[in-house]
Amino acid sequence: MLRLALAYVPSHAVAEEVVQEAWMGVFEGIGRFEGRSSFQTWLFRIVTNRAKTRGVRERRYEPFGLGNAGDEEEGPSIEDSLFVTQGDLQGHWVTPPQAWEPDTPERALLSKECREAITRAIDGLPPTQRQVMMLRDIEGVSSEDTCNILEISETNQRVLLHRARIKVRKVLAEYLSHEPRSVK
């Protein structure tokens, strides 16, 4: 919730206040919750609405700016350098991706260094990519609800999510390439 709020407001301290206000909004408005969306969706919508209002006041967030969020980053989501650009093999991988072991997620999460690298990568994403990734991949919100919460189009949501996932995959790949391997 803090990360979600941080996309709209200028500081961690203000984001904390937004989250507190959002929870108070939840306590006060729980009677009005009609169950048309999941509780989680309703909660995240309260957070984003309060963060937007606060962001406007703090002059961090410009209304309607997020609607064009897909435009916040130009260029391909996967680096051109990963693919052959000329000749018969154009569009093929320059270096084919390696097979990762099935226990990769567990190994990555056991490593403090890797966890921190992933968290840094998420925090370093452009705000809208971070929000989409937080909602979709970490909180498990559906794509439809994510679009509703963030007021973005389905296409934008997919572009933002894809870009964010590609970046986190790269961090994981870098960690795995330097990972100290235990001797069997």
């Binding site: 929870w23 006060e28 991706p97 997919r158 894809h162 986190v168 995959r169």
Partner: protein, 106 residues
């Protein structure tokens, strides 16, 4: 068969999608949001291309890692403040005239 012809044949059989195109469709593929035709083309390519199969697995493991990240910890001062405000709100709710009973209950 010369190399050029072989590459063209492979590309045709793989639904004419390049690895680059498949990599760019992978999020939609995982989301199940591709059209049937596109899905089939991606699947044909994946069936023939070990590099893209590895890439797909890498993306799946990335998602699993993200899903299992430990939850964002609630800073103690926020937790305390929230509890304080919640108790205050509850005391207002439970008092008959709507005024706070927080002081009297202490």
């Amino acid at each position: 068969m010369n190399k050029q012809l072989k590459n063209r044949l492979m590309a045709y059989m793989a639904g004419n999608l390049s690895c680059r195109e498949v990599a760019n469709l992978i999020t939609e593929y995982l989301d199940g949001s591709l059209s049937l035709g596109q899905r089939l083309r991606v699947q044909i390519h994946l069936g023939m291309c070990f590099a893209c199969r590895n890439f797909l697995k890498q993306m799946q493991y990335t998602l699993l890692t993200l899903q299992r990240l430990p939850p964002e910890p609630i800073p103690p001062h926020i937790k305390e403040e929230l509890l304080r405000r919640f108790r205050h709100w509850r005391s207002i709710q439970s008092s008959p005239d709507g005024s706070s009973t927080e002081k009297t209950s202490q």
